[in-house]
């Protein structure tokens, strides 16, 4: 491959950042200094090209260190990995968190998505505009953007600040105030300044560059400094998002608030790694049998039976096989996986190890969204500690089973939560979904059989293995077995992650979270609407609280549980503005591959803007929305386009968002 590079020389910091991921270059052939001896041999690019999957980590490394990806830096990455620059540019521009133009080191992401919009993110943005100019502006110190859901819905409105450096630092402000997320003049360093050592020693310079890991590549132990940026109040501990924390009847959330999420010893003292031992006693097929018997179905939204997925993957003749933990939780209103990863990170690592064992996989990936710096930090720490204790690596627990976990960080793309888009993202391609068939169990990441599961799904495997599939299946109703997490946010007294056995109805859950508060007359208020299942789900009316929160119950009611979002809207909320926001979300997050979704989401937004401003012909626009929506649902490649009209449709039909409709429109 005769690649054409630019003659741009990377800065030292850029080169260092890339080399920290890829190791130093061997010769002039892969981007190092050219010596006379290089001319005596030609190293094939095959070895470098085989590491294409390191493109995303390398882009992150530069973006984390310098704050943006210059032409020279992209060029250097391309030389190192033998990637055509046009392709790497296509990958870098796919992700919202990468900048290809110079920008300040500090970037503040202000969430304006549904849950935050319902908590008046608009006035937060107005204050930001007033004090710091419009989004994307640059005052030299920082820049800010309006962001899709940051997964901090229980503390809306939220903002996450990321600051490039060595190491990069972050802060989470929720609820956020403009005053605390705008840095003081001079607060953001102009150049590379190592962060002050953190109190717990993790951030100390001597400590932070651990021994070379992963094939001799020097790596920091964690990506972000645990020493968060000054400004907002310290982030509350993960269990603050779990109102039931400490309840002994909990299954999935049992350890949250009970164990120290940074301590492997504490995890083991609280029953950690008992499930892996039990799994090894059962053997791979035994684990799959228990999971199949449990009736566990995927908790990411599609509700596919996990046992069937694993069985199909494990039976494939091709090797190596892979397991992936889908931690790209980006559905607006969803934050359960964040709470699991932050509160009980070792459980995620242990569960993925069991999945790897059951499917006889060699490598597991945790693909975590880029907007979760604390969860990333805790997972990196957990994987590292597990590796040190031989709970990952070769011959785990003396069983002869070899398995390791790599953490991959997304960079701001909702679509990468789609299972086949994750594969492309991990492989260093644009995160565009693939067409199915072939399904992941046949041809997944790197073209090999892959079992991909959501974080919550995997965590369910621990009690299944420990107590047996039938015991698990005895909880719940019909096809909906076991406990389920719900992400309650919006106009409720106690938002947070709730664990209930399948079978409770919406009213019961509303009671658990204190309901929608009381009105001026002291009576319990009924919510105006509840969004079930996130932006890809649908609205139900506030008087439909009898809907059972089971897969069948929701389906019979014409709704979906999706990823477990329960976003409560009261009368103060401008529903049409929320609908325009949902349409804008899908337009922003469409990968752009297929016509129905790429253009359909634009036309949907335009029609909703007209409807909300009452500037068009109402009936024509409603009919237009329906026609576009039907085509998106029927003809899009992936679930994003297929569901992009769900919430809008339900708001029109169920909530009467734009007034009553004539029967003839259908």
């Amino acid at each position: 491959m005769d690649l054409h590079f630019l003659d741009a020389v990377p800065e030292d910091a850029e080169r260092e950042a890339v080399d920290a991921v890829l190791g130093p270059p061997d010769s002039g052939w892969d981007g190092g200094t050219r010596h006379a001896s290089d001319l005596r041999f030609a190293e094939g690019g095959h070895v470098a090209r085989g590491r294409r999957d390191l493109l995303l980590p390398a882009l992150h490394a530069v973006n984390d260190r310098v704050g943006w990806i210059s032409r020279a830096a992209l060029d250097y990455i391309c030389r190192r990995l033998t990637i055509p620059p046009a392709e790497a540019y296509g990958v870098a521009t796919f992700y919202a968190m990468f900048a290809l133009e110079r920008r300040p080191r500090r970037v503040v992401h202000v969430c304006t998505d549904i849950a935050c919009a319902a908590k008046d993110s608009a006035s937060l943005c107005a204050q930001m505009r007033e004090r710091a100019g419009g989004p994307g502006g640059d005052d030299g110190e920082f820049t800010w953007h309006e962001s899709p859901c940051l997964g901090l819905c229980e503390r809306a409105p939220a903002a996450v600040s990321l600051q490039a450096g060595d190491p990069p630092r972050y802060s989470v402000a929720a609820p956020a105030r403009a005053g605390e997320i705008i840095p003081e003049p001079g607060e953001v360093p102009a150049g590379d300044t190592p962060a002050a050592p953190a109190a717990d020693g993790h951030g100390a310079p001597g400590d932070s560059h651990g021994p070379p890991l992963g094939g001799g590549r020097p790596q920091r132990r964690t990506t972000f400094s645990p020493d968060t940026l000054p400004g907002p109040a310290p982030e509350p501990p993960p269990h603050a998002a779990v109102p039931q924390a400490g309840d002994p009847d909990l299954v999935l959330l049992r350890r949250i608030g009970v164990v120290d999420p940074t301590s492997l010893d504490d995890y083991r003292a609280n029953g950690g790694y008992a499930a892996l031992r039990e799994a090894m006693r059962l053997g791979p097929s035994g684990v799959i049998r228990e999971v199949a018997d449990s009736g566990l179905v995927g908790r990411g939204g599609a509700a596919f039976p996990t046992g069937r997925k694993w069985d199909a993957t494990a039976k494939r003749p091709e090797t190596p096989r892979y397991v992936i933990c889908n931690a790209d939780e980006s559905e607006p209103g969803t934050f359960k996986d964040r709470v699991l990863m932050e509160g009980d990170p070792f459980a995620v690592v242990e569960a993925l190890t069991i999945a790897g064992y059951a499917n006889n996989a060699a490598v597991g990936y945790i693909y975590i969204r880029g907007e979760y710096p604390r969860a990333l930090w805790l997972l990196e720490n957990a994987v590292e500690l597990a590796r040190e204790r031989n709970l990952l690596g070769t011959d785990i627990l003396g069983s002869g089973f070899d398995f390791d976990i790599e953490i991959r960080r997304g960079a701001g793309a909702y679509i990468c939560g789609e299972e086949t888009a994750i594969f492309n993202s991990i492989e260093g391609l644009r995160g565009e979904p693939r067409s199915k068939p072939p399904f992941p169990v046949e041809r997944g990441v790197f073209g090999k059989p892959t079992a991909i599961n959501n974080v919550e799904t995997l965590v369910n495997v621990l009690p299944i293995v420990l107590h047996g599939g039938p015991a698990y299946a005895s909880v719940g109703t019909g096809r909906s077995t076991g406990p389920k997490l719900f992400c309650v946010s919006g106009a409720v007294e106690r938002p947070g992650v709730y664990e209930v056995p399948f079978g409770a109805d919406l009213r019961a859950l509303m009671e658990m979270c204190g309901g929608a508060g009381t009105g001026p007359d002291g009576a319990q208020r009924l919510p105006r609407a509840v969004l079930l299942g996130g932006a890809a789900g649908g609205f139900v009316r506030g008087d439909e609280l009898d809907i059972p929160l089971t897969l069948e119950g929701a389906r019979d009611a014409g709704a979906t549980l999706g990823s477990g979002v329960i976003l409560v809207l009261d009368d103060d909320v401008d529903l049409t503005a929320i609908l325009v926001r949902i349409a804008a979300f899908f337009r922003d997050e469409s990968c752009g591959q297929c016509v129905p979704c790429r253009v359909g989401t634009v036309r949907q937004e335009e029609a909703l803007v007209r409807l909300s401003r009452e500037t068009g012909a109402r009936d024509t626009d409603l009919a237009l929305l329906r026609e576009v929506g039907d085509a998106m649902r029927d003809a899009s490649i992936c679930g994003l386009g297929q569901t992009a009209w769900n919430a809008v449709e339900s708001a029109i039909d169920r909530l009467g968002a734009f007034g009553p409709q004539e029967e003839s429109t259908r």
């Binding site: 067409s435 297929c594 016509v595 129905p596 029927d634 003809a635």
Partner: protein
């Protein structure tokens, strides 16, 4: 002289129905192949006969009994006892919407077949409202993933922008681009292995681009023109054709096509010369050529000027 004939591995026949008619096609055939075998016309835009289907445009969708969503005929393999409907109400609706969504956002004036399909599916792209003003040069390329300004809904946004005219051989009019990915595949690993272009950006703002939107002469482009060969909409166009269209002299009725052998080297690629009024106006290559599959190099594609330039002395 006897030449060996490759017969390939014998393939099992698959039996299925297309619109109620029995079809028997070799295993591994696509639904599109099966439709063609019984003479059922399926519109295609992003499908390329020499490329791996991307099934991005979704105009070829058909209804397969039992499937939740429609499936792309160009890439889905036909299976035993599959029942395919190519003209059901669902199919007609989605095809109509795809044509309308494309027609309202892209300049399809040089896309063959569009007028006929619009009529067949009763597609009226203009019903999304008046078209928005085209973007200025570079504006679309500079947009960031995941960000856009919500408009007022009075106009239908389009991908239209000025023509990229940065070299002597061909022009890129991305206002006509339907994002079929064919040029990227032809430039990349499927044929040319030059990788001068890729898909950049995301969503509605995604587009075909060189790295950092460099001009073609600064990019890896080798001017093989294989991207022009596969472009279904005229977004990529010979400069000669582009200029003649501008002048209003382009007239396909007056053109003749002559397939001959390129004289530059010993490979023997076939070139099809399109001649209007005794002048070569563009060069294509037969896709069924077993060696080159429609691909040429810069010499075969663009090196024809010597034929029509006489020495003046």
């Amino acid at each position: 002289m006897s030449t060996p004939v490759a017969i390939g591995t014998p393939r099992r026949l698959v039996e299925a129905t297309v619109d109620g008619r029995q079809v028997r096609v070799p295993e591994g055939s696509t639904i599109l192949d099966a439709c063609e075998s019984v003479g059922t016309d399926v519109p295609t835009l992003c499908y390329g006969d020499t490329l791996t289907p991307r099934n991005a445009c979704r105009v070829c969708v058909v209804e397969v009994e039992g499937a939740r969503t429609l499936v792309p005929a160009c890439s889905r393999r036909i299976e035993d006892s599959m029942s395919v409907a190519t003209d059901s109400e669902r199919v007609r609706h989605s095809r109509k919407m795809v044509l309308e969504l494309l027609g309202s956002s892209v300049d399809l004036s040089t896309t063959p077949g569009i007028a006929e399909w619009n009529e067949r599916y009763d597609a009226r792209p203009e019903r999304f409202g008046p078209r928005a003003e085209p973007a200025t040069m570079g504006e679309r390329d500079a947009r960031r993933a995941g960000e856009h300004t919500v408009g007022d809904g009075t106009t239908a946004e389009t991908v239209e922008q000025p023509v990229k005219d940065d070299n002597d051989l061909y022009v890129r009019d991305y206002g006509k681009c339907i994002m079929c990915y064919k040029c990227v595949d032809a430039c990349g690993e499927q044929w040319q292995n030059t990788f001068a272009i890729g898909i950049a950006g995301r969503g509605f703002d995604a587009g075909v681009s060189t790295e950092h939107d460099l001009a073609l002469p600064d990019s890896a482009c080798v001017y093989c023109g294989n991207c022009i060969e596969v472009c279904p909409t005229g977004a990529l166009m010979f400069r000669s054709e582009y200029e003649m269209r501008q002048e209003g002299t382009w007239d396909e009725e007056k053109q003749s096509q002559t397939t001959t052998v390129c004289t530059y080297c010993g490979v023997g690629c076939n070139v099809t010369l399109h001649v209007q009024e005794n002048e070569i106006v563009k060069v294509t290559s037969p896709h069924d050529n077993p060696v080159t599959h429609g691909n040429l190099c810069i010499k075969g594609r663009f090196g024809y000027q010597h034929v029509q330039q006489r020495r003046r002395d």
